[in-house]
Symmetry: C2
Subunit: 355 residues, 2 copies
């Protein structure tokens, strides 16, 4: 099969890790006889530098013509002084909204060979395997008003957590669909003892669950979930939650896997191309040093094969190659305890060779 | 000295653990020649059952006449069907607002004797000692509107994250004051790359920091903080953040201490009585079984001695007694790995005897 992939390397290590993911896609293409055609777009700081905005029209066009989008990372101290509305992160928020990428899937997987890298004791994380389904285009991230006001001499500020019923419904449905091909359990995380939006969320979760009688639904308060993710991560199969809670909980959960450098993500839409990106950021401190861990980006490419192209066997081949290479003792700097580690390129090579 | 303490046992294990804390205060009174006078009020489910509301006027009056308030916990499955506005948790939110308890202090302390109880590896948590300063009377918890709406055929829901400048300023000032008598470092947690309220928060933190030139201020994004709390908890001294972020991060951080049953809190106001309560909830599953860990409530009483009564030596005596008893190997059920553990009452006795 032939597929068009829009690549948005972005800033910092984004360039290095997307390059690794492309090499891996090409290796898969060779082995399984597919062709991946790559086109490129600017986003984040890279786009600000040349076009003056974090998400140029041309980038949106490149994405819309593709079958899927591969993103690196955005941001860096270089653009810290730029006004808020033009910051690199705005490019990321804008592309999510433009492509209606409402469902952010963040799997958290345990690798036996990496148990030493996690701050958690092995008996707590062994065989952990869950996925966070984070709502990505609503909530506090996009609600209006989001502004300062002056009431007489008083300065006040407001942000708005806003959801339409259908936005909540589709993300919860996505979670149930995800649970169907996993261990049949959905944990819906909210703060229903405080927020009205959480009470509606809980109601809709109950309604949707009627369409999935074989799947267990439980509700958990977000504070309790932040605790349980550490205390008993094996408890979870599919966790579904709103945008901000998902942002916090998924970064927390990344610690179970040993390094943020291991975590891939998929941002799915119902129509048009979905987007795949590592959970980690642009890591300006190590950018350009051939030192970043490319695995999160490579596993994101595997998610692309699975979710956008329906190529399950190919996705598994990537995931198994990663596991194989880790089992063989190969480590990038973030995973190595000592001084001996592979460069980004060498790690990519090891994975490509395995494929 | 003579001090009046209003006691609101609340629901579930709240009754058992506040009783333990009272015994400890009395022991301190004997040893140091103080007198503590206790008055009682209903809150939460206990108040709903007899008065029909989660925070009766009479309870507010009892609190306002006291020098400090000791709270147990509220809530339980018995009141799950009660309408939202009458739920036990509403009593807690209402007393926070009534007494203007804007500053919630949640210290996280490492006990060498409990290293086995934590999901984290010892080398990560050894000597951890930080305090979360959570804003408690603003943000998403109290902002209006918080409601459902119908736009034509569309159902939408909205919650509001609202702060006045002075609300942000006083909590940040509290954090700097706290850092002054600790390790001179404040980590202000926000989501300034997304929220306008966080950008104002960051600005005010910078402004306030000018009054504390000797104290280091750093800013951290909430997702990153959720990660760092696990990866490098020794990094932190004083963490200051808004209400909802503080709710999530402090429950997460409780895992460092091994058990939620160890974590005390103080909710301070500028005028009138402050309130002290364990971070844990009413634990309906073990309520009435003489099985709850009373230490969080007892350490909350120690915070009362320190913050409301200025009795530092007495506070230390309580904290040292707790440490002594733990070092001697005494454990309640939540901390014990095996079947051998102390009842709530026996644990209280051990601590009282040490004092
Ligand atoms: C960069 C930032 C706006 C973004 C978010 O908060 O969603 C990031 O943290 C993420 O999780 O993808
Ligand atoms: C019971 C609930 C409303 C409360 C909160 O969210 O503040 C609790 O979780 C806490 O942290 O004290």
């Amino acid at each position: 099969m032939t597929k068009k992939v829009a690549v948005l390397p972005g800033d910092g290590v984004g360039k290095e890790v997307t390059k690794g993911a492309i090499d891996v896609l090409n290796a898969i293409g060779q082995r399984f006889n597919h062709q991946f055609e790559f086109s490129y777009g600017l986003i984040g700081g890279a786009a600000i530098d040349t076009e003056g905005v974090p998400l140029p029209e041309s980038t949106v066009a490149v994405c819309k013509e593709a079958d899927a989008v591969l993103l690196g990372a955005v941001g860096g101290p270089k653009w810290d002084a730029v006004p808020t509305q033009l910051r690199p992160e705005r490019g990321l928020l804008a592309i999510r909204k433009e492509l209606d990428l409402y469902a952010n899937l963040r799997p958290v997987t345990y690798y036996d060979s990496l148990a030493d890298s996690s701050p958690l004791k092995k008996e707590y994380i062994q065989d952990v395997d869950f996925i966070i389904v984070r709502e990505l285009t609503g909530g506090l991230y996009f609600g209006k008003p989001s502004e300062r006001r002056t009431n007489g001499s008083e300065e006040v500020v407001v942000d708005t957590l806003y959801y339409k019923r259908e936005e909540i419904e589709r993300i919860i449905r996505q979670a149930f669909e995800t649970a169907k091909v996993r261990r049949q359990k959905v944990t819906s995380v909210d703060k229903a003892n405080v927020l009205e939006s959480s009470r509606l969320w809980r109601e809709i979760a109950e309604e949707v669950s009627k369409d999935y009688p074989e799947i267990e639904l439980e509700h958990m308060l977000v504070d309790s979930a932040a605790m349980q993710l550490i205390r008993n991560p094996k408890h979870f199969d599919v966790v579904v939650t709103e945008n901000m809670f998902g942002d916090i909980l998924s970064d927390e959960a990344s610690m179970l896997a040993g390094s943020l450098g291991m975590l891939p993500s998929a941002s799915l839409t119902l129509n048009g191309p979905s987007l795949y990106e590592p959970v980690h950021g642009s890591a300006p401190d190590i950018a350009g040093q051939n030192k970043a861990n490319p695995i999160a980006a490579i596993l994101s490419a595997a998610m692309m094969l699975r979710h956008s192209f329906g190529l399950e066997e190919e996705a598994k081949a990537v995931e198994q190659a990663v596991e194989h290479v880790l089992n063989a003792g190969h480590r990038t700097a973030d995973l190595a305890n000592g001084s001996h580690y592979l460069s980004t390129e060498k790690m990519v090579e090891a994975i490509v060779d395995t494929i």
